[in-house]
């Protein structure tokens, strides 16, 4: 907390010159984040800026530009169904253990002892959110016939949707993405079920359950930003290479000296989203533009 406050204060007081470091380090400043966010919102109307809850506002971002959000992005199938190789769901009782950051597994193993298998299976049952019958609601009294009830049970739709938030991580100087999922009835999914939509490789390593920094009472899954800068630098290099390649073939290679310094910082978040999309391949983001 103290460290991030300090980091943000430092950034606020001495922002890096624009576009100085992002091509070398993959990191961006809050100003660059806002610039890239404006571009994202401009190009993709599905994205918009949102303010933070009272008391959660961060001074280094404008009041009405605290977090980027896109809502109800459809997600028709689970990663495990799309490509079993991408995700083997470990549905044993100590699921929680296998799903949290690998470095912390040891710690969790100790505490998972308290979960006990009977308690865990109880939990799984409770997660059947669409199964109203489980809690003995008499649907007949709701004016619903037995036939409807059967239909209702069979018809469990797999159609989910996600709200995706992107905010600025002060400690890592990169954008950070958060996901909040809803089932087909529009009720919020617990993190455990949201993990089904994340590629196993990341689920095991860098995906964490977090309270939203920009809003109270919102539990989200987040891709931890510790390696974002490196990944982004790599992706930006690829995008740059592609850009240069294209302009060469366009111009016949004559004036490639005039090629601007590759992908501008305004497109940073578009590239970032491609990265997030690779972590959550079944969430159908809006990509109407090819940056990579």
């Amino acid at each position: 907390m103290l460290r991030s406050t300090f980091a943000s204060l430092r950034e606020y007081l001495t922002p890096l010159p624009q576009s100085s470091s992002f091509q070398k380090t993959g990191e961006i400043t809050p100003e660059e984040f806002v610039k890239a966010g404006d571009y994202l919102v401009y190009r993709f109307p599905t994205w918009s800026w949102a303010p933070a809850s009272p008391g959660k506002r961060r001074d280094f971002l404008p009041e009405d530009k605290q977090v980027l959000v896109t809502r109800h992005v459809p997600c028709a199938e689970r990663v495990v169904e799309k490509d079993p190789a991408l995700a083997e769901v470990d549905d044993t009782d100590d699921w929680v253990v296998s799903s949290v950051g690998a470095t912390e597994t040891a710690k969790i193993s100790e505490s998972s002892g308290s979960l006990g298998s009977s308690k865990s299976s109880g939990k799984v049952e409770a997660l059947e959110v669409t199964d109203l019958d489980a809690d003995n609601i008499d649907l007949d009294e709701m004016g619903i016939s037995e036939d409807d009830l059967e239909d209702f049970d069979v018809n469990k739709s797999k159609e989910r949707s996600y709200n995706v938030y992107i905010t600025y991580s002060a400690s890592y100087r990169v954008p950070r993405a958060y996901l909040s999922g809803f089932d087909s009835n529009g009720t919020q999914l617990p993190p455990k079920l949201m993990f089904e939509d994340i590629v196993k490789e990341y689920r095991d390593k860098t995906v964490t359950i977090e309270q939203a920094p920009f809003q109270s009472n919102l539990t989200l899954v987040s891709i931890h930003p510790c390696r974002h800068a490196g990944v982004m630098r790599m992706l930006l290099d690829m995008a740059d290479a592609k850009l240069i390649e294209e302009s060469r073939s366009d111009e016949g290679g004559d004036d490639w000296e005039e090629v601007p310094g590759g992908v501008g910082v305004d497109k940073y978040l578009v590239v970032f989203l491609k990265f997030i999309a690779s972590v959550t391949p079944t969430i159908q983001y809006d990509f109407t533009m090819s940056a990579l």
């Binding site: 303010p51 959110v129 739709s157 529009g186 919020q188």
Partner: protein, 294 residues
């Protein structure tokens, strides 16, 4: 024919409901005013309840939220929540009666002269099982019975679209401009005004793609009963240039009108009339949260 939106309820809304129940409401089941966010950008339209749904936001907060939003197709919609005390109450409550009562009150406000807020309202019935962190809920988007006829007269009106966008940009983020409802009036001079304005000559309704919203028949009743019109021109403003002008022949018998006919209970994902359940034990239960937060 007229559809309600697809509903999404944030866990934070239920957390706020639990807090309100414990701290303010206690055993009272009096309805409380809330508001939700309607987005008509896509089909189906989406309707969200969030942490802020309980708060009467101050002008500044509303202005900031509006300034941040990206589209003229996003609105705030007013409603009430009735939170009952037991699951038995939730089950036994006369749903038909509740619908009828809600429709009658919409009808009453039309007779008494109302704003777009009453025409676009919603109602929510809940039971909060605070021990198990389970929330049972059922939305109602009351729509009066439709007995008028309408015809499409012309398609997308680029000139009017520009006016609507300009009006949106002009008022967006301004503190003095608070309410933003999906029904507006249009004067003879093509000025955009609230529907209750006496100068309104034609009307603008914001709609999702292809379909007409639940408040459309309510608007028709309002125009026939309150404005005493036999005929109205309504512009359905939509995303992606699919807007159109409709001619409506209004048919309401002023003497018989009490507004009690209609529909409104939300259907679930399987298309059935049924309540929904949100199990937030893993999201809200402090014990389980502690386990996850290692």
């Amino acid at each position: 024919m007229f559809v309600g939106p697809k509903t999404f309820v944030d866990a934070a809304f239920f957390a706020q409901l639990a807090r309100t129940k414990l701290e303010n409401q206690r055993l009272s089941t009096e309805p409380i005013s809330i508001h939700g966010d309607l987005s008509l950008l896509y089909k189906p339209a989406s309707f969200r309840l969030t942490e802020d749904s309980f708060t009467q936001l101050d002008k500044h907060a509303v202005a900031i939220a509006h300034a941040a939003s990206n589209s003229a197709l996003e609105f705030s919609v007013d409603g009430i929540i009735t939170n009952v005390n037991t699951i038995e109450d939730f089950k036994k409550l006369d749903k038909q009666g509740m619908l009828k009562q809600t429709l009658t009150s919409v009808g009453q406000s039309i007779l008494n002269g109302c704003t777009a807020s009453e025409l676009t309202s919603f109602s929510l019935l809940t039971f909060a099982d605070l021990k198990k962190y389970k929330f049972y809920y059922w939305f109602m988007f009351p729509q009066l019975k439709w007995s008028s006829t309408m015809t499409v007269t012309s398609g997308n009106d680029v000139h009017l679209n520009e006016k609507i966008i300009a009006n949106y940009k002009q008022t967006n983020g301004k503190e003095e401009y608070q309410a933003r409802y999906p029904i507006l009036g249009l004067t003879k001079d093509e000025e955009i005004v609230p529907i209750e304005s006496e100068q309104s000559d034609k009307y603008i309704v914001f709609c999702e793609k292809e379909r007409l919203p639940w408040y459309f028949p309510n608007l028709a009743a309002y125009l026939a009963i309150n404005k005493k019109l036999k005929h109205a021109e309504v512009y359905c403003y939509r995303n992606n240039d699919s807007s159109e002008w409709l001619d409506i022949d209004l048919s309401f018998d002023e003497h018989d009108f009490n507004g009690s006919g209609g529909s409104g209970w939300e259907r679930n994902a399987a298309g059935k009339l049924s309540p929904k359940l949100s199990d937030l034990s893993t999201l809200l239960n402090p014990l389980q949260l502690a386990e996850q937060a290692v």
